[in-house]
Symmetry: D2
Subunit: 484 residues, 4 copies
């Protein structure tokens, strides 16, 4: 059932992409890569493979292992493939928006998978529609396909460059035609994209390097900001052809610091740094900035764990897993009519009273969005006997929405955009509350101011926004169900 | 899983359409109308409803009652709706081709459902692609959407007329934008389309009048060849607006005689005649042209029944149901490795030996395509003890493919295009074989030569074919699984 | 979800059974036989196969082709198998009651499938429970398993005979242990059971002979009333062993006449007569007993067709298919809130106005239970323009429930048990109404009074009922959804 | 599809049970309790509720949140309920074995859910079958139902006591008849069972106290070894009746130490101790017994985490999460034909190279069964750059199968039963390997020798085994898929 939403709705995107070229099991390797990138999107998944003659496509709603069954995988024949996982958001999600998108145009077939968000998507769409273009999805990605189809350039690669010169914003793309794979990263390098090699030298492109680990590929390097990489089959008996283009004017590089703080997997290398190390450094900085007398450092599982370890190491306060996570979460539960206290949080987390009782606890988490979940956790930890509860957040207060591909709530819904730190502390019921400073965060990430996009903490957007973004800021949604 | 087939494949279409405007349960009424039209297509089904603000769409593979669940139906809100059922063909069927198709263009949303086949679809597609158009389906219908989107006309109705002036072939269309329903029938009137009224006067449009019976509407008239009907909401407090346009140059009217012979439901009024009556008349003519001494007239169920009754009445030979149909057919059966004689036919039909044994049997059917099924039936009837088996077909030999919306096999696969009647008789093992003559058929349908399209029997195509049709004639497929 | 109903509920059963012994594809042949017997039960289906070492079982709710997928069929290995289809009744149906039932007892495994109904089932159950027996289903069949398990006889066949000596009522059984198939029919021979042979001589047992036609077996003979047939593997190199026992005291033979009137398939041989012939004879007798001046004989599809043909032949009034049946019925439809006249019947049947208008119509059906459906049909036929509507029923008025395996409604719900024929005529709105007489029915079936069970027409029960039957008569249900 | 296995197969069981009495949402509370106990069994789940008149049952294969949908839950009406989750084992699992089992016997209905394993189940079964009993499942639990049904005692509670006097082994039971809940724990107290109270005082019984936390109940006490608790509704206007019986002769108490080591959830209180505390103490003891010079303590997630924290705290070596767990595991993955190194482990775990590279790593896990998984992990950690890899196991070598309800592999499959510690070290490729001693384990659990069942570490079985156990030891299976 797709209630096609208004074409003027806000475009959203928080995704992972992967591609393989020149391997007889390309679709299976992309499938595994998407599985490793599953944390980047659980709403829909899709793979397109190419066999030199045609493209084979399968997309569906849900996790990659549910969408891509062995039977479907067997049909995704050919030696190159691209894939996509998309963030789970309610209501406006639909099969029509599931990627890779695909078109037939005069040059043949083309498929595209996109991680990021274009800031001039609505303007482009309005222009294209005025010229008679037909849209089927509400993704910004579809505009790129139209621009490619309309380009006068004879070859798809040139047409893609034509198209990308007209878009602004954040994008990491993988595309496939009948025989080639193309990867492209926007000139600002906001979202991550890396290049790896399979044991036989075949290229793998993925949003994060953890995908390489699973498929047995080694990390080679990041796809550079502004780079377009083309992988094509060689003439028979020869090796594959690889081209690297830099067709765009130079731009300031502003990788997204939130990939380090929360989004990427800890075992990935992102923007040249190991995420695991950056997160521990964030925790250590946090311990230095907001020391506290306490007995126990407890992470909010699972994303708070690395920073909590860093905090514990720097502070000397013992680390422990004081909140037990239920591994079967993710399904719907029916709360009894005779309501249970903290039901929504308890279904996911249970405090280990034996560890907490009588102790002064430092709760470490990596972000605070609306504050409601943290308020319940603090309360629950107190009921389990904690003498004091101190909350530490491993990044600065989140005050501004993201327009570059993270699905954040509107400014009004961000507690830190409305309340002072003391008000937030009262709201969540903590004895003390400390956020990491912007400087502390940049120190941990080893970046100078301006070397990262920190717009969500500062409201300073390195790529100029268009009117449409500002207008729809109020309707956007939180990416993290666990963090309301 | 959709293996997008080559864009140069043959376009096929054999479908039913329905629409309702101005009724609070529009989608439910369209759903019931599609259920009554289910015999026109079992591959996919879909409904789009409109509520004045937006369109709601649901399409899926399978029968309408499986695709449109009560839950989905509840979401198809609004007071107008259109729907579509599509013929079941293997391999190239896909969700992307399921109709109604839908687009967002600069005028808003537009949905379209199509019964028929355009003869210049490939030429249009090539031109549109050259101008940068993107295709997602392999239906000819999508070209109409592009032509609408590119028209300079400000209103959708004018843009649709612009578009239809560029297409050639057979079409009955229903379209919906946010507030209106549009119905259109090609100037030749090849496929049927009728207008009915609900008890409150609200219009219903459907491929056949049997859909009106189920929803409690009465038949008003056929939509005329070349007519465009527009249903729009009136100003508040006023009644709905209805316009009838005839924007195309006049053309010869050639309704498809095969709708009477086989395709339409016997309880429908089609092209001004009751199908039930025409079929009995076909059987009577057949009895006059090919009399035989026999004890029993047995129809090949179910489509052979009306002609068999006509044959029995005219010949005075008793009619009886000598072949019992299994009502649970339609699923897959696994034939044992130790193969069973006539398994494929037996799963569907079983001869009643008590009726057949020792009798001279006339088997009446409405068409003979490849002849293989009939050969099995004749053999099976003989094994049940028939003394003689005479086969009578209630139309002339089928010698040419249809390019106007019936999914026929290529000429090479049509037994009557390759073999003489005597060769066919030997092939199917009948004692005698008689086909109704062209004149006999036209007499039964009360039409003079030229008043019907009889191309499948004569090879004379009233609407000029394009090169592409001739080229792809060899790859088309049979519509009737029961008739190979 | 199984709400295990009260163990004192009425036991119901209207089913089909099949078995094959000594064939490498035994389960597949039983599957096809069940498919041919599908009209005898659509609630649940199941197959048990045996491979000499163990039994493999698969049962499920629904049609056999839905329940037994190719994957499941592949697991049902071994050279003998039994199967069961069960009538669809609402509410108390459950997977626990799906047959074949299976037990592990001290002699090994035993599976059983049952068509019929025991009249002393509740008494047996009470006795068994008093001795510590545990029940899981609410079928009467389970009591037979307990009696077998408790018998002192060393062999299963003897134990089964012991058990059957304690039960009263109607039963046709097929059973399987690890290596044998046993078939048994009650001494009164109330329900049908036949023996056929595959081309290699392997035995097939089935409720009706139409199952033999599909699997390529020939009809050999009926299993005799009171006969127990045992099929066992021979010693290596020898042929199979077959035994026929008649271990019960002689009893009056009273086959169920309703099998001929309605239940069996027309292409079956039942109790030595072809069902198709008996039904036509019923129609002929009906024409003689209740002649009428009319223009058209129209059957209520599909079960009224054979009697209508007989009526037409005997009366000289032309037969025609004036009611078009929708072949996609069987699913749920949502009636619009703005209700449609005769919706429930229209979804299944549509009158062909062209045939009916201005005509005097004889509607022929094979039974009238509550009368509500017929009232709607008569009304609908009149609205289609019939000048007169005469209803003819090819059996006597149904006045008493069946306790031998047909799931009839209670006496109160049977219209003929409460009203006179004239009252019924008024109720259904017919111009005239005629039921076949008991004598006419017996003449058609070529039986003298007492040679058939006619309890549902006479209230004279040939096998004495127990108190429990009389008590629960009020709660039983109609077998025929189409006939309310 | 259920291939009913040989009745002589080994009985297996590793489960969780829960019950609620006297609460209007009993089934929902049991459902939540089962969700909290999901780690004790993922093969099947089921709930039976009682409403004073009847019992309502729903069981299915899979996780409780998949099996018990909101729709099913709504049907499980009544104010008391029992539930069960069962361990996931391949092949012989079947719906017939899903609990709660249910029977109808002469006293009415009775449902039972069982955690544990009877050692004389086969002997009981043989005796019962000899007396004519019928079995449907291959669980040992069904024998208890038969013993209850055959008891001469008029009331179910007395009959249950009669039955339990005849069984030997480990059991925690919850049972329900139409109005009561009964809980029973074997005299040795091998498996855990606790009693909690809802805010209104209504009793909750569950295998572990973590179930109480989720439903908002408080822990009251353990159900005592040998105790039978009966909860019945009081007379109208009065409060519920609760009885505690100790009907069995006294026996030595030997709670299962493996519940503390691995099986129970860390946030549960089991046998009077907090599991979280015991596990950290196990890690501390391990650090004292097997010290090592190293840079990092890395747990094998998730079960190795608590002991690793204890080890880190006692040793002063920093703890870190060096292995990233994929949260989407649990589905099937297709390994490419061009095989990927360590694929099976990599799909679940990925080493964080940034943390591990150049470090001396202590890997801490809670058990080692076959050793194959640990060998892959050690290898993978070395490939990520670890300079040294030291393996520490927080219990003694597992040398004997469990016959009291843990589904262990046969002795032959236990690596520690066949190889010396040095051989195991070589096998897994570790630099050093240390197991906690029996004394160390008992110290951590604060128990003297003989106060726990330690049979899996010592081969000394506190409850005498029967011949059948010894016979089938060779065919049993590993409970822990992650630990092969």
């Amino acid at each position: 059932m797709d209630h096609l939403p208004s074409p003027r709705d806000h475009f959203r995107d928080k995704c992972g992409v992967a591609a393989v070229h020149g391997h007889p099991e390309a679709a299976n390797l992309v499938y595994l890569a998407l599985y490793a990138l599953q944390h980047r999107g659980q709403e829909s998944a899709g793979i397109v493979s190419g066999d030199g003659q045609s493209l084979h496509r399968h997309v569906g709603m849900g996790l990659v292992a549910d969408v891509v069954t062995p039977k479907e995988l067997a049909r995704l024949t050919g030696s190159h493939a691209i894939g996509h996982v998309r963030y789970g958001t309610a209501g406006e999600s639909s099969l029509e928006n599931a990627q890779p998108l695909q078109m037939v145009h005069r040059r043949g077939r083309l498929s595209i998978a996109h991680n990021g968000n274009l800031v001039n998507a609505e303007e482009l769409r309005a222009e294209l529609e005025a010229e008679g273009a037909i849209f089927r999805s509400t993704t910004d990605t579809e505009a790129i396909l139209h621009l490619v189809a309309r380009s006068r350039a004879p070859d798809v690669v040139d047409a893609l460059v034509d198209a990308l010169r007209q878009v602004e914003g954040a994008y990491c793309l993988v595309l496939a035609d009948e025989s080639r794979v193309i990867a492209a990263r926007d000139p600002h390098g906001i979202r991550p994209l890396s290049l790896g090699r399979l044991p036989g030298g075949e290229p793998v492109v993925a949003s994060e390097s953890c995908a390489f680990d699973l498929v047995g590929a080694r990390f080679e390097r990041d796809v550079e900001p502004g780079e377009v990489l083309v992988f094509a089959p060689g003439t028979p008996g020869e090796r594959r052809l690889e081209h690297s283009l830099f067709p765009f004017p130079p731009a300031v590089k502003v990788p997204c610091i939130f990939e380090h703080v929360y989004f990427s997997r800890p075992d990935s290398l992102v923007f040249g740094r190991a995420v695991a190390e950056v997160r521990r450094a964030l925790g250590r900085e946090l311990a230095h900035e907001h020391p506290v007398e306490a007995d126990l450092v407890v992470p909010v599982p699972d994303s708070g764990v690395p920073a909590a370890i860093g905090f514990a190491n720097a502070s000397g306060i013992p680390f422990d897993v004081g909140l037990t996570r239920n591994h079967y979460v993710g399904r719907t539960f029916i709360e009894p009519a005779q309501s249970i206290r903290h039901f929504g949080v308890k279904v996911k987390l249970n405090p280990a009273r034996a560890l907490i009782e009588g102790r002064r606890v430092v709760l470490v988490d990596d972000s605070l969005v609306r504050g409601t979940t943290m308020a319940k956790i603090v309360h629950m930890v107190r009921e389990s006997g904690a003498r004091e509860v101190h909350v530490r957040i491993s990044c600065p207060p989140t005050v501004s929405p993201c327009y570059y591909g993270v699905d954040t709530p509107s400014r009004n819904e961000l507690i830190a955009a409305r309340e002072t730190i003391e008000q937030i502390r009262l709201h969540i019921g903590a004895d003390t509350l400390g956020y990491l400073s912007l400087d502390g965060m940049l120190r941990a990430a080893q970046g100078a101011p301006g070397e990262f996009c920190t717009a969500c903490y500062t409201g300073q957007y390195p790529v100029a926004l268009h009117a449409s973004q500002r207008r729809y800021a109020g309707t956007a949604r939180l990416p993290f169900d666990d963090k309301s």
